[in-house]
């Protein structure tokens, strides 16, 4: 039967920010599938002009409520590289622990509150609270643990207080660190329950080959700084971020699109996994294998599983980081510095993928020029072309408009897009 239908999803629910999906099928063939970001732009790159180096990270953290620590650290790294400031080792460890907290919180939020309802055919996590209370409880325990890690390391769960130029302004107390370690050990059962739950879900089979971009520094599963690499073999220096993004504008989206070696590319948990799986902790590695996740995986729906695998990695690695902080006297946490003119890029792996900030300062350390390229921006083109391939496949398989609509929504949510962030 030759079908005709239109799918118009205005303000897609259960994603951060505002985006639309438009699909039209005529005579049984896909005519158009489009991913439109209609979020109101905020102009942070403009707001940053004239802001002093010490204030910049407090401004950029407000780009995103979910990944404020990543934005703060991307700015701090940019400015430290521009002014040749080397933070002390203990501060670097505290920052990494802060990134882990944010990623755990963000992944838990996405997996339980945004993605899980799709798999269970429910409008939100609220009814899941009644149908699967122990699952939601496990999700909340993970999310809370992530937030506690962020609070202990930065003073607050959203919009960090003590991440500053030169290091951190305050270190967590030993007592706090011990409590955090206890909490991680206790909450392993919640993580295991979560893992078992995800085994019961059926992940759609869909493959469209693409290029995965992430950081790589060879020594740890990357969260802060390193080379920019792709699964197509591209390797670039952190400062050459522009060659890794090639931002361009479309006439249907307020968020920019990017590309590297192909029509589109992807960033995020799956991209990090595809480029760095060797560096995962043992347990995370085994969990990946048990889900049949291996590099290079081209199924975007598996980004959900890659996030789960990263939660396991964070549990293992955070414990090690806390151990090393407990062995440190935590006296040296901030390097004195002189503000000066400079220019550099700072890249971090935010929960949703590699995030670039680039800044130029004057001799008083005021920001002259800034550029921020957000993970979701780097996924827009991939989402757009995935939607076309997925919708075409669904129509070919004789799926109804409702089935196609649901699959398309699930696809977009699998990327865990952070739209307000992408239109900064």
């Amino acid at each position: 039967m030759k079908v005709d239908f239109n799918i118009d999803i205005h303000h897609l629910p259960r994603v951060e920010g505002h985006g639309n999906i438009h699909i039209s099928v005529k005579n049984g063939t896909l005519e158009k599938a489009q991913w439109e970001v209609i979020e109101t732009p905020r102009f942070f790159e403009m707001m940053l002009r004239g802001v002093s180096a010490e204030r910049a990270s407090f401004l950029t953290s407000r780009i995103c409520g979910i990944c404020s620590i990543s934005h703060s650290l991307a700015s701090i790294r940019t400015l430290e590289r521009a002014m040749e400031i080397e933070p002390p080792e203990a501060a670097k460890t505290i920052r990494l622990l802060a990134m882990h907290g944010e990623t755990l919180q963000s992944h838990a939020l996405h997996l339980f509150f945004l993605a899980a309802p799709d798999f269970l055919d429910m409008p939100s996590a609220v009814p899941i609270l009644h149908s699967h209370p122990e699952i939601v409880k496990a999700g909340l325990l993970l999310k809370e643990l992530g937030n506690e890690m962020s609070i202990a390391t930065t003073g607050r769960a959203t919009h960090p207080v003590s991440l500053v130029l030169g290091g951190v302004s305050k270190a967590p107390s030993k007592q706090r660190l011990k409590e955090l370690k206890e909490m991680i050990l206790k909450r392993r059962t919640a993580l295991d329950r979560t893992t078992d739950f995800f085994r019961t879900l059926s992940i759609p089979e869909f493959v469209r080959e693409t290029e995965f971009i992430s950081l790589r520094n060879g020594k740890d599963y990357p969260f802060i700084g390193g080379d920019l690499v792709s699964t197509d073999g591209v390797v670039r220096d952190e400062n050459d971020y522009l060659l890794m993004t090639n931002e361009y504008l479309t006439d249907f989206s307020t968020s920019k699109f990017t590309r590297v070696s192909r029509q589109s590319s992807a960033a995020g948990a799956l991209a990090r996994f595809n480029n760095n799986s060797r560096l995962l902790g043992h347990r995370a590695h085994d969990i990946a294998a048990s889900f049949g996740l291996e590099p290079i995986c081209h199924n975007p729906f598996m980004n959900n599983i890659a996030q789960l695998v990263e939660c396991h990695h964070i549990f293992e690695n955070a414990e090690m980081l806390i151990e090393s902080l407990l062995d440190d006297d935590l006296q040296e946490i901030r390097t004195p510095y002189k503000l000066k003119a400079g220019e550099a890029t700072g890249a971090v792996e935010a929960p949703r993928g590699v995030l670039y900030h680039h800044m130029e300062t004057d001799d008083k350390g005021k920001v002259l020029k800034a550029d921020c390229i957000i993970p979701t921006t780097q996924n827009n083109a991939n989402i757009h072309y995935d939607l076309q391939a997925l919708a075409a496949e669904a129509v070919k398989d004789g799926k109804t408009d409702r089935e196609t609509e649901k699959l398309c929504e699930m696809l977009v949510r699998s990327y865990d897009p952070c739209i307000s962030c992408s239109v900064h």
Binding site: E16, F43, S52, C64, V161
Partner: protein, 254 residues
């Protein structure tokens, strides 16, 4: 639903975001241990971020973000027409927040910096009360979940909602923090409304005034302190302008 022995109806609530980072809405999902109980108080009618169900029969509207586009003005007016109680939720909604930093240059120039020659609609950032009347304000960048719980319960039980009148310094001193002024930094704690538990100075970074002016403060004597300590007035100005909470004061002093 019972509260202090009184039977109360669940409150029909909607949450709406405009130009912002959505960090304030995110706080609603924090304090995980009391989250199921807090959700039990609410009948969530419209909350796009977490649910695909949408109904327009809410009584309380939480409005997050500032206004920077004409479609937002229309959407906000429709929310005002529906809501019995409209709450400006967070610093962006209450004062404009960091978004107002883009008002320092002409808007077409801002567009050029970010989008080049592409035409992108934007207007100077405005706080919610510039467009519609606001019944309650919950400031904070982000809001504090404890305060939100207190205020929402207050609305449900029809008890008065008061934010602290005193400044951040009061809470900061109770925590026995070393004052940042003694470490040579300008801190806005003396002029900013308390209620955040002095979270920034407790983390050894200066208060940037996200909660706006305190009722009980003396602005001229604050400036006097900055001058006496020989600290930078430029830095003070930059901090006062950060969240736009002190716009009225900045006009007098420059």
């Amino acid at each position: 639903m019972n509260h202090l022995g009184f039977k109360i109806d669940k409150v029909k609530i909607g949450s709406f975001d405009f130009t912002c980072c959505e960090g304030c809405q995110l706080q609603l999902a924090n304090k995980e241990s009391t989250l199921p109980a807090f959700l039990g108080l609410l009948d969530i009618r419209n909350f796009r971020e977490i649910s695909s169900e949408r109904h327009d029969d809410y009584d309380i509207a939480l409005v997050e973000g500032s206004i920077t586009r004409s479609d937002e003005v229309e959407r906000l007016k429709a929310i005002r027409a529906q809501a019995k109680v409209l709450i400006a939720f967070g610093t962006c909604a209450c004062f404009g927040g960091v978004n107002n930093l883009k008002n320092k240059i002409p808007q077409d120039e801002a567009v050029k910096v970010v989008y080049g020659d592409k035409k992108v609609e934007t207007m100077p950032s405005m706080k919610i009360s510039d467009i519609v009347s606001v019944d309650l304000m919950i400031p904070g960048c982000p809001v504090s979940k404890a305060e939100v719980e207190r205020i929402v319960v207050g609305v449900v039980t029809r008890s008065p909602n008061n934010l602290p009148k005193y400044p951040v310094c009061v809470d900061c001193k109770q925590k026995l923090n070393t004052c940042l002024f003694d470490l040579g930094e300008v801190c806005l704690g003396p002029v900013t409304k308390a209620g955040c538990d002095a979270v920034c100075p407790t983390g050894k970074t200066p208060c940037l005034g996200c909660r706006g002016p305190s009722d009980d403060m003396n602005f001229p004597s604050f400036i006097q302190i900055v001058k006496e300590k020989n600290l930078s007035l430029d830095e003070m100005q930059e901090k006062l302008a950060f969240y736009n909470g002190f716009a009225d004061y900045l006009d007098h002093e420059s």
